[in-house]
Amino acid sequence: MIENDTLSKVLYIDLTKKRYFVKDRKDLFEKYLGGTGVATQLLLEECPEGIDAFDADSPIIFAVGPLSGVFPLASKTCAMFKSPHTGDLGESHAGGRSAIAIRMAGYGAIVIKGKSELPIYLSISKGKVLFKNATTLWGMKDGSVAARVMRQNEDGEGLRAIFRIGQAGENMVTFANVTTETYRHFGRLGLGAIFGSKMLKGIVVSGKQMIEVTNKKEYRALYDQIYNAATESPVMQKYHDVGTAINIKSLNSVNALPVKNLQRSSTEDIKSVTGEEIAKHHLARRVACAHCPVACIHLAYLREPYDDDPYFYKTTPVCYDFELIYSLGTMVGITEPKALLKLIDIVERVGVDAISMGVVLSWITEMFEKNRIKEDDLNGLSIQWGDVDTYIELVKNITKPSTEFLKACSKGVSFASSVYGGKEFAMQFGKNEMPGYHTGPAGYLGFLLGARHSHLDNGGYSVDQKELVKVDLSPEQVVDKLLDEEAIRQILSSIAVCFFARGIYDLKLVSEAIKLLGFSLDEKKLMDIGKQIHLNKYKFKMREGFSFDKLDIPERIYETKDPTGKITKEFIHNGLNYAKNLIN
């Protein structure tokens, strides 16, 4: 890397002692580029083996990549931590202004340890870290209000990222998220709960520095190539127009969209919550992450009349995409757009992972439907599919649980079903609640094998849709494809490029782009680094107790119709056994 690049500066912050220092870690960045590669090493260094995720010594790590602030679409920050939700690797990525702000502030990574005795937020700019008293912000029922107060009290307008948690994080709900720029999230695996355990309400970070490149002429030329691809390429078109919500209609039509806790994989009532219909009737504005011209963030406006005044309306901007229409829509039997937007809104306010919350709600509904829990378990509530007002109350109740059952639900469906039963329809994989893809066996193997049990780890759903619906592949062939894809994605998340841009940033382009930042790595070397990063993640997972033999697979996936007709126990188990021998 270039000698003067501040990418290798790692900011270490101790919340207990309220102090900080900066260390140059060229050793890590030259070997693993940045992002997920560097964050994994920092996690292995900083997280004591077997520690409770909520212990003061349990670290929070943020890392950005060499291309952040240099090329378009490199706008992701990788957060790494020990997950309180799964007990092993916690990793989630967010855009907004997060990556640009951290890179422009002069850092490649931030490591936060310790625990404050009072609520605080951090203000990071101009080489300083200020520890600000956040007592007055603690306990607010709407996380966006806390963000507004931080915004009003800090400099760096237009350049800053504002991370914050809501009540769910404060109460250490294990799937609480961290929100940045109001509509982007470090969504999965419970980073918000780690913030809460450290009494860390939020972080404001900003900067505006220069980044040197090795060849100015080549830099401009490559920039234009990437920028033109981002704005004109058909591979970005779907994110740009209707957004990921465009997949609702197509997945529903091929029996791949989970409905009512995956009791079904399609619904006739889909019409008004397809991406096209929501865009037509409710889309109000599209916004972008910093340094990304695509603008895939879709905001709808929810207009609700007040009951006590006929000419008084509450108008609320609500961000939606495919995963939310699935998890807080079809999964819980909601197919009316206003009801859907209302449920999304409360989930945003309390600050939880929308996918996990939707799956928790759908599991609760089925438990109630099957008389395996009672109203007393739900704090007096009675729930049925599609009942949005009760779902809103349930979200609040899970965020501040008052019964033993709700407390269990605040730890996710894996934990709750281990206490109350219903594992056969607790839709989790590796203890992480499932995303909206009942596409076939590659999708499920992908969730199970992925280092963070996310559909984005290896895109297994794509193997189902592009290949398994047409041809037969053995479980071993599927696993090989998944592991190769996961290795490639380690490189993308190490240079902190958005996965939506994976059609543009192939390894050849990555090699050319990072060369301008002083990295000399060809495609083969990059692939080797990707595989190594993946194994490093598994090193952490195994160290913290993950085992392929302990994976619970809900029976439901074998019962509900899918597009391939190939989801069998034999296929899944053969795939897992093969992967286990490769990874162990």
Partner: protein, 138 residues
């Protein structure tokens, strides 16, 4: 030629213009940008896009104690960097915050109305307009 904001309502906040402006120097990052894009009180309310309006009697030049900012014919100013002492009075004098600051050099960065940014706005928020008699600029 004057840089102008054609329709801020179409701005998505991608900051491609800001990066383009800074990239004119050949390097990456944001240190040299003289465009500002910020939310109008929260992202859901849209964005405010700040560009130099190239005033005909520029307040920034009026307050410069060293003559480092020279008014140009037809509006706007030119920065003579060697004369600038980095006092920041020009920044205070611009009430739309269109005098930006390079922290590394501790000197202002001034829009030269080149229009490089316009080509990097995918949503037609910015435009470079020719001076024509009888045509007013917003």
């Amino acid at each position: 030629m004057k840089l102008a904001v054609k329709d801020a309502m179409r701005c998505v906040g991608c900051q491609s213009c800001m990066f383009a402006c800074s990239r004119r120097s050949g390097n990456a990052g944001l240190s040299n940008t003289c465009i500002g894009v910020k939310s109008s009180g929260g992202i859901s309310k849209g964005y405010t896009v700040i560009v130099c309006r190239s005033c005909e009697n520029p307040p920034c030049a009026s307050v410069c104690p060293t003559g480092a900012l020279v008014p140009k014919k037809g509006g706007g100013v030119r920065l003579i960097s060697s004369k600038c002492i980095g006092c920041g009075l020009c920044q205070d004098a611009c009430i739309i915050d269109a005098v930006f600051w390079n922290d590394e050099q501790d000197k202002p960065v001034i829009c030269v109305q080149c229009g490089y940014c316009v080509d990097y706005c995918p949503y037609d928020v910015l435009e470079l307009i020719k001076d024509e008699k009888g045509v007013s600029h917003d």
